[in-house]
């Protein structure tokens, strides 16, 4: 019991010093998008733990940078021993976990996970201020904007592209994938059909629209069998003779510099 009290006291001191305005030196993250921004903005010695996905190349844009940093698995018992002075959570992180951490005296900040590039600019700057890397954050946003300007507006009418995800799902307005498609100079089938967010699109409806480009949103290794991936391999899709591009999940799961990579990828298909 005495150990616990001493530990809580130490944690309280740590969090109190963080409130005093000094940049946090021991940051833990419970959200994959926060992981990646953190790795872009903050030297790794100030990061004590990240999510399990941060170091996996199939889900993380910053996988190489995250290698070697302890993974916390979203578990209290993995986060606490690293003595963080700032814990970053996402809007969809487990609410009971956040409550528990706060009850234990930890400083938990819930950061915004932006869904569009315009939101991302503010979110990144705010994130930078929070983790004590305001300068770096502003530079990152400026670099993103410079890269976005370099993506040339293509000549002529925009051709039609369709995003097709496992289980026959397509994306429409309000999703980052639709924004990626449109900023890359394509029309997005889902947006034109009035889809908000995600909606089922039958194979027949996809075929009849005759998109020039099919963006396969394969959010998992296609070799590990599933029906969902079987649909994407339907021979009728191949018969359509549209170009197909696989959108790597690390480019489309969070919004930020990786989104610009995704736009460049699709713009190159025009």
């Amino acid at each position: 019991m005495r150990k616990v009290i001493a530990f809580l006291f130490a944690a309280w001191i740590a969090s109190a010093s963080a409130w005093a305005g000094a940049p946090p030196q021991r940051i833990a993250s419970l959200n994959l998008c926060a992981d990646q921004l953190l790795l872009m903005l903050v030297p790794r010695e100030r990061i004590v733990s990240v999510t399990d996905w941060a170091a996996r190349p199939e889900s993380s844009y910053m996988a190489a940078a995250a290698r070697g940093i302890p993974a916390n698995g979203g578990l209290v018992e993995a986060v606490l021993p690293t003595h963080p002075d700032l814990i970053l959570a996402g809007p969809f992180s487990d609410a009971t976990l956040i409550q528990l951490l706060r009850k234990l005296g930890q400083r938990v900040e819930v950061v915004d996970v932006p869904r569009t590039l315009d939101e991302a600019r503010d979110a990144i700057v705010h994130f930078g201020e929070l983790v004590g890397a305001a300068e770096e954050a502003r530079a990152l946003v400026a670099d993103m904007d410079a890269r976005l300007r370099r993506i040339a507006p293509p000549a002529g009418a925009a051709p039609l592209a369709a995003v097709y995800a496992p289980n026959g799902v397509t994306v429409g307005r309000g999703t980052v994938l639709a924004e990626i498609v449109e900023r890359a100079g394509w029309r997005n089938l889902g947006s034109e059909r009035g889809v908000d967010g995600f909606a089922a699109l039958s194979l027949e409806e996809l075929l009849i629209a005759q998109p020039r480009l099919i963006v396969l949103d394969v959010t998992a290794d296609g070799d590990a069998g599933s029906l969902a991936h079987g649909y994407l391999a339907h021979p009728a899709l191949a018969a359509l003779q549209a170009k197909t591009v696989v959108m790597p999940p690390p480019l489309s799961e969070c919004v930020g510099p990786m989104t610009v990579d995704a736009i460049e990828l699709l713009a190159a298909q025009r």
Partner: protein
């Protein structure tokens, strides 16, 4: 129950005509209105052709083949077990087949060879029929058989859930509904081709056991005294059912109740001879599944309504009705 004086030929003729009719209707239905001229003029390179030949045709042909397999298996099991409440789903055969297919698909065997998908399904189906036989015995009461089947079914459904939870692909869990309820959405000619040879073999095996099933109605001993090699023919029937159900389930999931309902609906027209029930049950199963698919297309074209939901809504109440009518046997 009265037996209508309708010849086998005429019954089969009526069923076949209905089947062609429903088949034509089902090809018309879908989320997209088809341009039939384009579909026939340029089958390979027009989008209407692709939709007709590569999306709708395999779907409806699979409905026919799966329905026929299920109807035939139901008739064969009811004859073999001399039990009016037998059916591939009630005995747990379909769930066990689904488990076999799930293991083969999600754990990489199908990537090695596509044929391992129906093979997994058939091994599962064969295992379940054998289990039912061992657990309930050949002369089991109606009740013992159904309870054994129910237990196997429950175990297999849990094992499917367990396998999908441990599958490496993150979409696996969301596909549980497909394996438990069944669907023909987004099936391709490839699925038809890998399942059809096994179904055909299963149909032939079951049809070749017709006379044995007739003899069985008089009892095992009478069948033996009539010169039938009981053990061999019983296993041949079981193998046929395993081929039919395993191949069907591996490409369409667990579409329930067809095998139970169809033989019952047709029995009054053929009298109580299991052999004469086999072919009509195959045609009737195909008809029922096509009709269910048409209902799905009309209710919610292009959305995810599972075919098995419709067949269970038809079959569930029917099963209750059977239980009610057979309550004397069951108590």
């Amino acid at each position: 129950m009265k037996t209508r004086a309708l010849g086998d030929g005429r019954l089969l003729g009526v069923l076949a005509v209905l089947l062609v009719l429903l088949f034509a209707i089902s090809l018309q239905l879908g989320p997209v209105a088809l341009d039939w001229i384009a579909a026939f003029a340029r089958p390979g390179d027009s989008v209407h052709g692709i939709i007709l030949w590569q999306v709708r045709l395999p779907r409806e042909l699979l409905a026919i083949c799966v329905g026929a397999s299920m109807g035939l298996s139901g008739a064969a099991l009811q004859g073999l077990l001399r039990n009016p409440l037998a059916g591939p789903d009630l005995l747990g055969v379909t769930s066990c087949a689904a488990l076999g297919a799930v293991l083969s698909l999600y754990f990489g065997l199908t990537a090695v060879n596509a044929l391992l998908l129906p093979v997994g399904g058939m091994l599962g189906a064969g295992l379940a029929v054998a289990l039912v036989f061992l657990l309930a015995g050949r002369n089991a009461s109606v009740l013992a058989l159904i309870l054994a089947g129910m237990a196997i079914s429950a175990i297999m459904s849990s094992l499917i859930a367990l396998a999908l939870n441990f599958a490496p692909n993150p979409f696996a869990v969301s596909e549980m509904m497909y394996w438990l309820l069944g669907s023909l959405a987004n099936r391709s000619n490839h699925d038809l081709l890998i399942a059809l040879p096994f179904m055909l073999a299963g149909w032939l095996l079951i049809l070749s056991c017709g006379r044995f099933l007739d003899a069985l109605t008089l009892g095992e001993d009478s069948a033996r005294s009539l010169g039938f090699d009981g053990a061999r023919l019983r296993w041949r029937t079981i193998l046929g059912v395993a081929l039919c159900v395993g191949a069907s389930v591996s490409v369409s999931g667990n579409i329930g109740f067809v095998g139970l309902v169809v033989p019952h609906l047709l029995r009054p027209w053929v009298g109580f001879e299991p052999r004469r029930l086999l072919l009509p049950s195959a045609l009737g199963g195909a008809l029922l599944l096509l009709a269910a698919d048409i209902a799905v297309q009309l209710l919610s074209p292009g959305s995810g309504l599972k075919l098995g939901v419709v067949t269970a809504l038809i079959g569930g109440p029917f099963f209750l009705h059977l239980v009610y009518r057979n309550r004397a046997v069951l108590t």
